[in-house]
Symmetry: C2
């Protein structure tokens, strides 16, 4: 199945602003409420949202085998379960339909009115109903930083880290779409000298700059996914802010891992950018030493060059970019993560989400959390408006962005943002 939608020469008849994350080569998938309060699956080109449910009802996908209601749903799970061949057919068809010179839809003003929306006419929803969400810990720089801060800089990486894509189960219920406000969590913290644990709003609220991939139904319980087939089962990626309350986490996480320090909110960007759209940005993976066990061995181009950014915008203030990182720094690839996840026979379903873990790069300005950027609060960041931050304040909005760029084509994710509200 050719990836015609990726052709860099393609131009659309829709308006696409300069430097848009959403040229005709992107064609991401999302779920939105329309101006008529209908929920539908859609895509986006430039600043135009496209109602795929309406397009399908009008017959524009008649040559593709699809159930009638596949796009008239409140999640992409069923469409994703249809598999990669269908995803490609649909994405290529959308690309053709909006290609400059194709008047099939363009000249039908009635249809255009039914199908096309300005962004201010829609409200983005969660794109998938996440059955299970797993978070990995796959950036070597991040694991090294955390190990140095909390354990021993000389032995920052734990013995298993270079052998296993370490991960843990996260909370699905509190995954929210970009733009949803985040309430500062309350919880227990380490006891003081009186031996009584602290209790109250978290004082060390942090972001974690991550990406997450969304899977199709990959395997039945008891079976596993060979690494060669892993990417076939990945639908696409979103930007992901794994909000973390460091003080709650520090007290609760031994021995069973992060819990309430994470489960109060996890923000994702609403458009799933397909792995197909990201193929031109495939790049060399970091060298793995020691060589992983055979079931995790892979070709050496399993990373993706995606520029990542995190910014803080104080209440009523201006934005300061605090971190520039890149998805290619990931030590363990998505394919390795998914393969490892199923090696024990654990079944993965359509719509499951797997986070990368914080993506920190090699330089101090590429660290993906305030914990690392301010080195546990010892080196506060000065914001553009003069304010200082060790962690995230009430009223701050954390904004993440991501895009790939090559040969004049930019494929981006839009924003993943959330404003912090004071604790209840």
């Amino acid at each position: 199945m050719p990836l015609t939608a990726n052709d860099p020469k393609r131009i659309t008849w829709l308006d696409v602003p300069h430097n848009s994350d959403f040229p005709i080569q992107n064609i991401p998938f999302g779920v939105f409420l329309t101006r008529d309060d209908v929920i539908t699956i859609g895509t986006r080109i430039g600043n135009t949202a496209i109602d795929l449910g309406a397009l399908h009802q009008l017959g524009y996908f008649k040559d593709i085998e699809l159930t009638d209601d596949i796009f008239l749903q409140d999640s992409l799970n069923d469409f994703i379960a249809d598999g990669r061949k269908t995803w490609r057919l649909v994405r290529n068809r959308i690309s053709d339909l909006f290609l400059k010179g194709n008047d099939e839809l363009r000249k039908n003003k009635e249809h255009c009115k039914e199908v096309l929306f300005r962004l201010d006419e829609i409200e983005m929803q969660l794109p998938v109903d996440v059955g299970d969400y797993t978070d990995f810990y796959a950036s070597k720089e991040h694991a090294t930083n955390v190990g140095s801060l909390f354990r021993d800089p000389e032995n920052a990486l734990l013995p298993n880290w270079l052998h296993i894509p370490i991960g843990y189960h996260g909370r699905s219920s509190s995954i929210i779409p970009s733009g949803t406000a985040v309430r500062r969590p309350v919880g227990q913290t380490k006891p003081g000298d009186d031996g009584v644990p602290g209790f109250g709003p978290s004082k060390l609220l942090d972001f974690e700059l991550e990406m997450a991939f969304i899977t199709t139904a990959t395997n039945d319980l008891g079976k596993r996914v060979p690494i060669k087939e892993a990417e076939e089962n990945i639908f696409g990626l979103v930007l992901f802010n794994d909000w973390s309350a460091r003080d709650i986490q520090a007290w609760e996480y031994v021995p069973l891992g992060p819990f309430l320090g994470k489960s109060f909110a996890s923000t994702i960007s609403p458009w799933i950018v397909t792995l197909d759209a990201l193929q031109p940005f495939r790049t060399k993976s970091p060298k793995q030493d020691p060589t992983p066990l055979p079931y995790l061995q892979q070709p050496d181009n399993m990373a993706y060059d995606i520029k990542l950014q995190a910014a803080i915008k104080p209440q009523g203030g201006i934005e300061t970019v605090v971190c520039n990182s890149n998805f290619k720094y990931m030590y363990w690839s998505m394919a390795q993560q998914l393969t490892h996840h199923t090696v024990n026979g654990c079944n993965v379903r359509s719509g499951d989400m797997m986070g990368s873990g914080t993506i920190s790069g090699p330089t101090e300005d590429s660290y993906g959390s305030m914990l690392e950027l301010t080195w546990k609060g010892t080196k506060p960041i000065t914001l553009s408006d003069g304010g200082e931050r060790k962690f995230i304040n009430d009223g701050d909005t954390v904004i993440m962005r991501a895009h790939s760029e090559k040969n004049g084509i930019r494929i981006g994710f839009g924003e993943c943002k959330g404003k912090v509200l004071p604790a209840n």
Copy 2:
């Protein structure tokens, strides 16, 4: 709303064998496939399964406000979301309908034929679609045993344990109903002298004797559940075998907790016994010292006296009971667990499941896992047929049972069982 269904004097016109787990005072809820391959919500009295979908269609719930399809579903999630008042009305109505002397249904042979099934005519399914599953670690004896085995017997409990109901997120996709076979998991284990991790079928496959409670939708994101209201949000309980591969777990779990050592399978009993049905068995909670923080303080009768048992039945052999424990040993109550889970604003949805963690008692024969019973394999168990077990062998079936008994009334859970198949 009176709990008339709990009246110990009630007798049903259905046959109920002596010592049945399912007298008319139980009335649990489950989901099954009927002989006509219809999926429905049902209950059970004695050895008769009752199709609530059919009962509702025939008008037997006309005095209760219920949507038409509330029981014609493949999960109890929507019914549970209707809340405790509805659960009680429905359970009381079922009790009335099957009460000796009530001929309303009994004399209508056509209706009885539509509604009543022998157990061999139905196939039990998962009772709920579990959105999120959390496992706690709430037995002090279990935490002490594990701490003694793997860390330091002098300081077996970690500093946070007496302050926090420690828990972690588990995997929902691999929760399976009793009777489903369990494939021995494959995975990485600790490196030997060559520094290369082991890889292959787990050699230390274990069960964990647990109970789990199922919640209704308790709170919106950012809100929390006060401890006084916690039990109102608990629909009922199931028996739960949290299968564990100790060798995989030991290598992977630092620092983010259990992952593939658990996520290959989690077996639950198919009938949810309501918290209402268990009210007569409420009992004194263990004394908590130090006193928990105010948000976790509760009356002193928040435990439930439920006898628990685990047995091993080798392939073609006879069964040996290896453990007798009790749910009342739990240090942290269900109410404390649910309250703690939401203190950070984490939202809990209808159908979510919260496991207790292994329930070990004070005596060596009441430990809830092979790890503890055989003290990490150093004291093998001799089975009735002469075989020895340190952990679970291929072909073994692990069978768990639970019931409460008082004043001649026995409320039970049936079996939670699974047979171990050799690794792929």
